[in-house]
């Protein structure tokens, strides 16, 4: 049984999806979603423990041995990402029942859960697979379901946002499939590990470098690397709250993982970072993301949109770690992937609480919300502190490692820019603080109640995790260190 976990955790949500369509009743589909997510989390947890000792689990689908059959290849790096995705998946599944009740018509609830299950399938598949074309397939499953999820938002602009993302996402997917095709052309294999052994012989071929370029651009679109981020603010802003929380915490993170995997395990750090200047390009774009997106965030009129821009900036921290291309940098990037997922997931869940009560999260609507929804508001403040990187929160750990990584390279200027950009985070987080606590609530706001206990409790689980993982980093940092080790070792 346990030997099939690598495939089961992907297949289970895939099979759950049609079952949900058949079940149709909102309550039952929700129960299926929760049970499925819980089972997936259990399997992801098991895989995480198994791979912690540096072991690589290879699973041959249909017993066709790799490289001929499709191989799932789990090591510390993707086990870490899958654990994150599965954990967030369960929390969001639990959270969504109350949240979507106000945002999505009741007769569409089962579709929401179906799409959620498919999205989970796609994300976990992207992480688990060791096959280039399979990667593309799961990327499309995740993307297509995401377009639908975003379009479910009650604001009509959600349709435009979904369409925008559809176009951009399709361009990204095309780039990826072209990249995969070029690599296949040169190596004659789609198995990533096999490809990795063959690429060094042909790495001076222009088509290999073109493959790398296509893949980099395609994946960067999915992870919203500046300046390929334009789809993200609208998508996060107009999607239903539960979707925004799920996407912010998982979708871009899995794409980041794919980028790391392609660089370190498939093309090899030597080609990517030494022979080609990808690292320098990544650093430059990451810095631009950190500074520009944070600055843009400050001027938003909608809290959700503000934190969406903050996500672009925070992705910059992750890719900066990758761009530094040292072990510490990689650890910093990976641990921030986890920490930021927790932080932003929590913030979007809490914003969902406000949206539920106040009917929106524009700055004009949240004036004085701190007095009527104290727990929700205070949770967002703590999440904001984690974004700033205040010690005692998860964000601090990432920032510490990033600054260490920069100083290890002797790049004091880089360290200064990293911390300077968090000053911008203070400004936008404090916009929320002042709006929530200093402005007098309008009559409409003053009549509101605190969010439903269930939603609040789940959001606070995430907020508590932000603090817990800021103090006890054995899981997050230990996992990231193992993951970085697995990536640095490369595949055979």
């Amino acid at each position: 049984m346990t030997s099939h976990f690598p495939i089961l955790q992907v297949v289970l949500p895939l099979l759950a999806a049609p079952v949900m369509v058949l079940a149709r009743r909102a309550g039952i589909t929700w129960l299926i979603a929760v049970a499925m997510s819980a089972a997936v989390l259990g399997m992801a947890g098991w895989l995480f423990v198994q791979t912690g000792a540096g072991e690589t689990i290879s699973y041959a689908i249909g017993s066709w041995p790799p490289p001929w059959g499709i191989e799932y290849r789990i090591d510390a790096a993707n086990a870490y990402v899958m654990l994150l995705v599965a954990a967030i998946g369960l929390l969001v599944a639990l959270y969504s029942r109350a949240s979507i009740a106000a945002e999505i018509p009741a007769d569409q609830h089962y579709l929401f859960y179906t799409m959620f299950a498919l999205c989970l399938t796609g994300l976990l598949g992207m992480a688990a697979t060791g096959d280039a074309f399979n990667l593309f397939v799961f990327l499309e499953i995740a993307s297509l379901s995401t377009y639908v999820l975003i379009a479910l938002g009650r604001d009509r602009r959600a349709l435009v946002a979904a369409y925008q993302y559809l176009i951009t996402g399709t361009i990204g997917a095309s780039f990826i499939v072209i990249g995969v095709g070029l690599a296949y052309l040169e190596t004659g294999t789609l198995n990533l590990a096999d490809m990795a052994t063959r690429l060094p012989d042909v790495s001076d071929q222009r088509s290999v470098r073109a493959a790398l370029a296509f893949l980099t651009v395609g994946v960067s679109l999915k992870l919203a690397l500046f300046p390929l981020h334009l789809w993200l603010p609208n998508a996060y802003t107009y999607a239903p709250s539960a979707v925004a929380a799920f996407l912010a915490a998982t979708a871009t993170k899995v794409a980041v993982y794919v980028l790391m995997r392609l660089y370190y395990s498939v093309f090899g750090a030597k080609l990517v970072f030494e022979e080609l200047a990808v690292g320098r390009v990544l650093i430059a774009l990451s810095l631009a993301a950190m500074v520009i997106a944070s600055a843009v965030a400050i001027f938003q009129r909608d809290v959700k949109r503000m934190f969406a821009y903050s996500s672009i900036a925070q992705v910059g921290y992750i890719t900066l770690g990758i761009g530094i291309a040292s072990e510490t940098g990689l650890i910093a990037g990976i641990v921030h992937l986890f920490n930021h997922a927790l932080t932003k997931g929590a913030i979007f869940m809490l914003l969902g609480c406000i949206a539920l009560r106040a009917g929106g999260v524009g700055f004009d609507r949240i004036a004085g919300i701190g007095r009527v929804m104290p727990l929700t508001s205070f949770g967002i403040v703590i999440g904001g502190l984690s974004l700033i990187g205040v010690p005692g929160t998860a964000g601090f750990v990432s920032k510490w490692y990033l600054v260490v990584a920069a100083l290890e390279q002797g790049a004091l200027w880089l360290a200064v820019l990293v911390v300077a950009s968090s000053l911008l985070a203070i400004v936008y987080v404090w916009r929320f603080v002042e709006a929530a606590y200093f402005n007098a609530p309008s009559a409409h706001i003053a009549a509101l109640k605190e969010a439903p206990a269930g939603m609040l409790a789940l959001s606070w689980v995430m907020i508590a995790a932000c603090i817990y993982f800021g103090l006890d980093t054995r899981l997050t940092l230990g996992g990231a260190t193992d993951a970085a080790g697995a990536l640095m070792r490369g595949w055979p």
Binding site: L385, I388, G389, V390, P391, G392, V397, K399, W400, Y401, V403, V404, L407, E408, L412, A415, V416, V419, A420, S422, L423, I426, W430, E434, Y437, F438, G470, L471, D472, T473, L477
Partner: protein, 485 residues
């Protein structure tokens, strides 16, 4: 109790107190009783720890390993002990004072006020007992954040603006400079523990040491060395008990405490002295002392004058530390205690004047000493201590600082201290003169002293100011242990 348990208890007491205060929010008398009980318990615990530190022990307590090689850890050395004693001792007095002030002025959100106060004390204890730079940094930031609601207590537009300055300058400098400095130190020394003689090693060149020192000094915004002092006058928008304990004692002393601690235990005075890397600092500190004194001299608002006086007095500590002479380090450590008791007295008096007479400007104080003899008497004692005249504690610390400057042949520092003594006198003596010797204008409404709790508190701190002049034995012993003389 073992010293380990004592440290844990001392740190946990104010946190538990905050929880109790929050739970008792609906019963103001019980709530204030909880504050007092917490403050008293904390002080007793700190006193118990003082015994073992004076006996030469260094009690330690490991909390959690945050990152590999980087732990949250407490270890008490003499300076931290002194700071902990001052902060926890004055919290008792301040709590008594707060009860009178908050009630007499009908302040809102009193429960939040007392909860944040208790948490601020927990952070202060965390800073005082920190065993390494990481722990220091964690509680340094915590102290900024938990005092923010106190600074912006009134919730007015002015408070919001002041809060921006407060959080912007303190968090901004700490993240931009202090965090970089700490990580850089970790990068060089592979450790962030405090050790006698420093951890940076003797091989660093002068430029690196000087740059690192600059990052620390300006990163510790709480020390209010110009130009990162703006948050302190801004914080005066807070209720006076906050200004008194936090912005005259806990927060600002945390700043200069960090400076002393880092110079002594991270750089090591010998390392800095040999490389001559701190030579620039006396000039910056000296400039701050004089410039802040001039601003104080020109401020008509009483609290603003006291705030700039604090900026000036804090830089005495920085200046004395930068001289690197053992005697001046003793002076710096003593000044942490001496300035604390003196300045809290002055703020208590300012708050009492505001409560009883609703006056905030120096020019309104004509003849007030006849109506409020206790308050203005205490004010006079505090002013004496600021100027550095006997029989007040400020004399003792200034004496050591001057001796240190002489021993190190630092004539500029000597000149600055002398000159600023005159300036300090120039902005405090007129207040005392007005209060006692100028006749009150006709038609003043009749008022007496502030509520008795406030008078009791300010008399007690004034008495402590005088007491420390005659009996500086405990602070002196701790300061000498710090300087190793």
């Amino acid at each position: 109790m073992t010293p380990e348990a004592l440290i844990g208890a001392a740190f946990a007491t104010p946190i538990a107190g905050a929880a109790a205060i929050a739970a008792l929010g609906r019963a103001p008398n019980l709530r204030e009783a909880a504050t007092l009980a917490t403050a008293a318990a904390l002080f007793l615990l700190v006193l118990a720890l003082t015994q073992s530190v004076l006996a030469g022990e260094r009690p330690a307590l490991m909390l959690v390993e945050m990152m590999p090689g980087l732990a949250l850890r407490f270890e008490i050395e003499p300076l931290g002990m002194l700071f902990g004693l001052v902060a926890s001792g004055l919290w008792i007095v301040n709590s008594i004072y707060s009860m009178g002030y908050m009630r007499a002025n009908g302040e809102a959100h009193q429960t939040r006020f007392y909860v944040c106060f208790a948490l601020a004390l927990a952070s202060t204890i965390g800073i005082a007992f920190a065993g390494n730079l990481l722990t220091l940094f964690v509680f340094y930031e915590a102290l900024t954040l938990v005092t923010y609601p106190l600074v912006t207590h009134s919730g007015t537009a002015e408070a919001r603006r002041a809060g921006r300055t407060y959080i912007g300058v303190l968090v901004g400098t700490s993240i931009l400079f202090l965090l970089i400095a700490i990580v850089w130190t970790f990068e060089i020394a592979s450790t962030v523990e405090f050790r006698s003689g420093g951890i940076l090693g003797p091989d660093l060149d002068r430029a690196t040491l000087a740059a690192l020192l600059a990052l620390y000094v300006f990163g510790i915004g709480k020390a209010a060395v110009m130009p990162v002092h703006r948050w302190l006058p801004a914080a005066m928008v807070a209720p006076t008990p906050v200004s008194a304990l936090l912005h005259a004692v806990a927060v600002v002393k945390a700043g200069v405490f960090c400076v002393i601690k880092i110079v002594v235990y991270v750089f090591g005075t010998e390392t800095l002295g040999r490389a001559d890397a701190a030579a620039w600092l006396p000039y910056v500190a000296g400039f701050t002392i004089l410039a802040a004194s001039v601003v104080a001299l020109r401020s008509n608002n009483l609290k603003r004058r006291l705030a700039y006086s604090t900026v000036s007095q804090l830089s005495y500590v920085v200046l004395a530390t930068a001289l690197l002479a053992p005697l001046s380090i003793v002076g710096a450590a003593l000044h942490v205690a001496a300035h604390a008791v003196g300045k809290i007295t002055l703020f208590f008096a300012a708050g009492a004047i505001y409560t009883a007479a609703h006056k905030t400007e120096v020019s309104q104080l004509d003849g007030i000493g006849r109506r409020m003899p206790w308050t203005m008497g205490a004010f006079a004692v505090g002013a004496l201590s600021m100027i550095g005249l006997p029989p007040a504690a400020g004399f003792v610390s200034k004496w050591y600082m001057l001796q240190g400057a002489l021993a190190a042949s630092q004539w500029v520092a000597f000149g600055v201290i002398t000159l600023s003594t005159l300036l300090t006198a120039a902005y405090f003596v007129p207040i005392v003169y007005r209060a006692f010797l100028v006749r009150a204008p006709a038609g003043e409404h009749v008022h007496g002293e502030a509520p008795w709790t406030m008078v009791l508190a300010l008399t007690a701190t004034a008495a402590a100011t005088v007491f420390l002049f005659f009996q500086p034995a405990v602070p002196l012993a701790l300061a000498r242990a710090l300087a190793g003389s």
